[in-house]
């Protein structure tokens, strides 16, 4: 034992003109529960595919347990839920899970994997007759059936309703609490917050933050201030303020700040005429997206 479970070192991936992952280095140790967070198209899925050896890095390298991720010895120790992957519709749930069990050297009993994924009642159902949320649970059963040391979950709650998502995330948390290494991608900040002790924020192929959820939240928490101005807003009047993001569209100004009182005091002092002033708690989602935008332009 010992050594990291997952390692990317200086890994880049280029698709034609697009640099989907740009020189990413990160290490995930056994037992960690890591959320990779970022807007759509940020490079989360490509990063996961590099870790899994499903894509070859254009430069740099990926390692699983110190092995080439394509090595069947490495693949035998992981479980994977991928986005948009299909499964044979004409097999029953228990048949498919049983089949996947045979791929692994030390599988769980198929019934146990099905039960852990909460699909016990659907064991005899044909895969094609499952609902969207049940499909996600089937993928979880398939990811779990090899009793993996590391679970890779790429946007696992897509297609679930709010309640299903909450339960699912709780179950993933329980799996992590029992010592499994979990790497999860999501664009829901709340999921990362609920689950992970470490959050890696990816934007446009770069890692822009890698710390605890509390530290990440401290960076994005704040107030949203919106107002309109009689004349198109002069950007000079808004310069030098402690803002985490700023959007100006003609007369309309939207800004995010951790210090709304100081910002407003300064704006009044500068004599900016404001109408329809509103101060509200920033939507976490929106604040987060604003943060990733801000980081890149900075």
């Amino acid at each position: 034992m010992g050594g990291p479970a997952v390692e990317l070192s200086g890994a880049s991936k280029r698709y034609g003109d697009v640099l989907a992952v740009d020189d990413v280095s990160l290490t995930i140790n056994p037992g960690e529960l890591v959320a990779m967070l970022g807007p759509n198209g940020a490079g989360k899925t490509t990063s996961i595919h590099l870790m899994l050896g499903m894509r070859n890095p254009t430069s740099g390298k990926a390692r699983l347990f110190g092995l080439d991720p394509k090595d069947l010895k490495a693949r035998s120790r992981i479980g994977v839920m991928l986005q948009e992957s299909g499964v044979p519709g004409m097999l029953r749930v228990e048949e498919l899970v049983g089949l996947f069990c045979s791929y692994y050297p030390h599988p769980l009993p198929a019934t146990q994997a099905i039960a852990m994924a909460g699909l016990g009642e659907k064991a005899k159902t044909l895969v094609k007759d499952l609902s969207g949320g049940q499909h996600q649970r089937l993928y979880l059963a398939l990811a779990l059936c090899g009793d993996p040391e590391v679970l890779f979950l790429d946007e696992p709650t897509v297609g679930m309703d709010v309640e299903g998502r909450r339960r699912f995330i709780q179950e993933i948390g329980d799996l992590g609490a029992r010592g499994r290494t979990i790497v999860l991608t999501t664009h829901y900040l709340e999921e990362a917050d609920q689950l992970a002790r470490r959050v890696i924020v990816i934007d446009r192929g770069h890692v822009i933050a890698d710390s605890s959820p509390a530290q990440i939240k401290a960076r994005v928490a704040g107030k949203r201030v919106t107002f309109t101005t009689p004349q198109p807003a002069d950007e000079h009047l808004l310069a030098g303020l402690p803002l985490s993001s700023l959007q100006v569209e003609d007369h309309r100004v939207r800004l995010l700040t951790n210090e709304p009182e100081a910002v407003l005091r300064e704006l009044f002092r500068r004599g900016l005429e404001m109408r329809d002033l509103e101060v509200a708690g920033a939507d976490l989602e929106e604040a987060f997206v604003a943060m990733t935008r801000h980081e890149v332009s900075a």
Partner: protein, 265 residues
Amino acid sequence: MSAVAARPSTAPLWPMLSRQTYAEFIKLIRVPAFSVTSIVLPSMFYAFIGLGSAKEPLFPGAQVTFGQYFLASMALYGVANVMVLGFGISLANERGQKQDLLMKSTPLPAPVYFAAKALSALAVAFIAIVVLSIFASIAGGVQLGASQWLTLFGRAMLCSIPFIGLGFALGYLAGPNSAPAVTNLIYLPTAFASGLFFPLQLLPRFLQDIAPYLPLYRAAHLVWNSVGVPENDLSADWLYMAGYGVGFFLLALWAYRRDQGKKFN
């Protein structure tokens, strides 16, 4: 600790192959569009075309009856049909649904996956000729010696192998929507032009000229001979089949690599 060190690090291959083959088989059988056409169609053609003159000699003075000739023809049609359509269309569909994505992330070795597909298709092909043979014996009164039956089954199954390669190649070259049309467009006319439905002598001159180069025509020689149609030189036919086999599998390998390069590079 030593017990931990002794734990195998990958799963054993034989149980994996047998489970995968079983899964592939039930996947095929549960799609009526596939199982019914593969298993029933050769017998149906036999009912429509073969039964009427099953007892008559193939040509004046021949030892072989039309019933025997057509049994051999449809046996070949049936097995190759399973390989080209079954293998080809099911692969194209699975690619269309991105089933290869999740498989790629598992420790299932690709050769096991393809061997399972081939074995399950061979099983369906075998069922198709058993059904056809029973139908031809009972409804058409076709009689063959034990060694003739054995040779017919053996050669039909052997001749299906190059078509596994062809089906495999089509599965990776055709899109999921166009696969059924493309395979039928290639397969049906080829079967016709190879003399599987009517003896070549009855077909237009240009088809008679093309036929010797078609894999189904070469395979047909082998199966017709097994029911008693005299052939002078079978070695050329075997050679052609081996050549087609190598050619189709190389094409399949190229198509597979091309597809993998696009998705997983």
